[in-house]
């Protein structure tokens, strides 16, 4: 693992929600962020939550072997990203790890972007691992579809959102989870006005399109399940001069109606 014992790493955690039962739980991506943090700098990783300290599911993060978990006290309607942003710009860690998107609440996936913007730091999305940290520069593996990885170099400090492709979080143990200290920090609350205007309703189940199974044999089914989907449009522009590449992008944006 990367040599990062001396770094200040903060993993942000939210309250997850089980897809089947709807119960509060350890969020999968956030837990991976904690796991990555633990692997980088052990118990020194600072795990941070903005919300209610009495939330039981926070104990399941603590059960991963944390001595302490810090909670910025926030009411239900408050904008967590503001509180987190203020806290982080005050404490200035080296790395901030988040999940890609929360399992409950707005689940917009905006938190890492808003934090990076506020701190003025680079944001690396959907990372699978941090391979090395040397001379203030981190070598990161970014997760791409189909198990592909992209190596990225980024200067500290930075914000990274952790993808499901990262190492699975360790088992949460009940005993240490009970005993960990949940430190409650009263913090300024900013009401989330946009959110307040939202109306929440259970999602309507959309009818699924029936799939015609064309495959007759197991071999065909296997092929259908494993073959790369053939992207219809698109073309690879690699060796053309830059202005031609830019032109191609510009044309595409016009075509898609992004630019008018």
């Amino acid at each position: 693992m990367a040599n990062a014992e001396h770094l200040k790493i903060v993993a942000l955690v939210s309250v997850g929600q089980h897809p089947k039962s709807g119960r509060a739980r350890r969020a999968e991506q956030d837990a991976r962020a904690v796991e990555l943090g633990l692997n980088l700098c052990g118990e020194k990783v600072q795990v941070l939550h903005a919300g209610d300290v009495a939330e039981e599911s926070l104990r399941s993060y603590a059960g991963m072997g944390l001595k302490q978990l810090r909670v910025l006290q926030q009411a239900a309607g408050a904008d967590a990203s503001v509180a987190l942003g203020d806290y982080l710009s005050e404490h200035l860690p080296d790395i901030v790890l988040t999940g890609v998107r929360a399992e409950s609440g707005e689940s917009s996936g905006m938190t890492p972007y808003l934090l990076a913007e506020k701190l003025g730091w680079p944001l690396v999305t959907r990372i699978a691992d941090i391979a090395r940290i040397e001379n203030g520069e981190a070598e990161i593996l970014q997760a791409l579809p189909r198990g592909q990885r992209r190596a990225i170099r980024v200067r500290l400090p930075f914000v990274a959102s952790v993808d499901n492709a990262a190492a699975a979080p360790r088992q949460s143990a009940y005993g240490p989870g009970r005993r960990a200290e949940l430190e409650n920090l009263p913090w300024v609350e900013t009401a989330d006005e946009v959110r307040a205007a939202f109306e929440e309703a259970p999602a309507r189940k959309r009818p699924k399109r029936l799939k015609m199974v064309k495959a007759k044999t197991a071999a065909e089914r296997f092929k259908a399940a494993t073959a790369k989907s053939q992207g219809g449009g698109g073309r690879v522009i690699k060796d053309q001069p830059p202005h031609e590449q830019a032109q191609a992008i510009f044309d595409l944006l016009l075509e898609e109606g992004v630019l008018r």
Binding site: K20, S21, R23, R25, Q171, A173, Y174, P176, R178
Partner: protein, 648 residues
Amino acid sequence: MILDWLLPVLLLSVLALALIGAIRRISLWRAGQPSPVDFFGGLKAMPRRYLVDLHHVVERDKYMSNTHVATAGGFVLSLVLIILVHLFGIESKWLAWPLLASSVLMFVGATFVYKRRKNPPSRLSKGPWMRLPKSLLVFSVTFFLVTLPAAGVLPQGFGGWVLALILAAGVVWGLGEMVFGMTWGGPMKHAFAGALHLAFHRRPERFGGGRSTGLKPVDLDAPVLGVQKPSDFKWNQLLGFDACVQCGKCEAMCPAFAAGQPLNPKKLIQDMVIGLAGGTDAKFAGSPYPGIELGNAKGGPDSTITEGLVNPDTLWSCTTCRACVEECPMMIEHVDAIVDMRRFLTLEKGNTPGKGAETLDNLIATDNPNGYEPGSRMNWAADQNLRVMSEVKEADVLFWVSDGAFDMRSQRILRSFVKLLKAANVDFAVLGDEERDSGDVARRLGDDATFQSLAKRNIAVMNKYRFKRIVTTDPHAFHVLKNEYKDFGGDYEVLHHTTFINELVKDGRIKLGGHKGGTVTYHDPCYLGRYNGEYDSPRELLSAMGIQLAEMERSGFRSRCCGGGGGAPITDIPGERRIADMRIEDARATGAELVAVGCQQCTAMLEGVVEPRPEIKDIAELAADALVEADDSQPARTRRDELAVEVA
């Protein structure tokens, strides 16, 4: 004559040394955690426990039981008389002659011990245990000869100083092994620790024909959950480990050992002894854990067991089938110890192997081990028109469906059972979506927190409703509901479905026709048989269907586990063979074409064996197939037909 003054001196010093050893040994046990026992009651009950309860277990092996009665009886009697005759110097033929007789008795016993040790089976430990028959012989012969003058058979001073020296050496050897060794860790330690273990057993309910198989709850507020170090065991558990005679009956019965998984119950108990006394396993003279070399294990009362003494895989190999406990002539509780150590690994270390963590997470989030939607628990019964407790509030019988509701194979068992219940017009209802996993798997994986949470919520739900009895098709739920919910305020009359169906048949509420098909054998589920003593109902029920069972060699209390208990399929510790394959081999040996089972877990495990193999069917399925439907069930059926009239 040298012996005249030497013998009392030797006796006195050996007894004194033995006393010091005893105090030292007791202090080792007292390093354990407090566990309340009935001190005087236990001591008072000890002779009976030894002579009756323990003897029942030993008697399964007639050779050994007779041998032990002669040897131990002869020895105890001899020792008492030796003290009277040779230490206190009471000169009486009424003592000397009985002493001669008892030493002869002991000699006879010892010759049989010697015979057995000439070519010992692999389950027996060698090492110092090979010395024991010689020591027994020396002891009995020496004291026979020494007592001859006192009995007036030989003149005083017979044989001169040569014989006297030889006899003195014999006295030293004999007393050294039999008295000094008893408290200083020789093979005879089993007599000292064993007697006290019987007196202060942690499950005194087991004596006098009783049964105590439910696991003890964990105090979730304790500073360390589960057993980390040997000193975290209760003191009488430590005492129990020390009572082991290394006979290896557990080893011979252990399914995990036979499958080549790294578990040997005998070695595990010996490792616990190493743990409580400190040392290494280099001198262990029995079979090692399969695949793990001897000599590398090191431990002490205050060092973490799973770091150096016992490999966690050893603990996770256990299927909690209780075959070792059932077999142990010393009534040692192997399964309690294993689960205690698992609790530490799961609750403190977060180190449950295989799919353990996932299963526990699912149980926490969805109340079932596979993470299915909790609201889909009744989907299996969509066409069954079952009454749900939340609507009816009251029924004679609460049918505990168990997690079999989510499994398509188990659903066939559930449907069969419902068919029988309906045919017998039983007033029954189910909990529906209010039911949760019983907590069996969580508890046996060491997660007592999740078990307790599930148990408390299940009890709260059940206490809302009124019913007389609970019936379930799952022996694991059966055991947990019946024996382990009591600690949390849930005291119910629980029946296994085979017991209940058998009752229905006996009361004439359902009629079963004959079973058609070939030879049938019956596999006793561990949690029904060994855990709860129900061996007869399934057999009676099968014979009511006209089935003549071809019993497997290992059936009844010696039934071999299917490999599915204790979360073993979840932790999935690799071995050389699969336990289920061995069990099907047992069934094949009877020539059976069908294995009748009373457990969905066993069904799944045994059906997982590659064909060709005997067919596997639950007794509920067999009974439902053999059900003779009476005429008066006809109206009910037509009514149901009317529900489905065509409307357009």
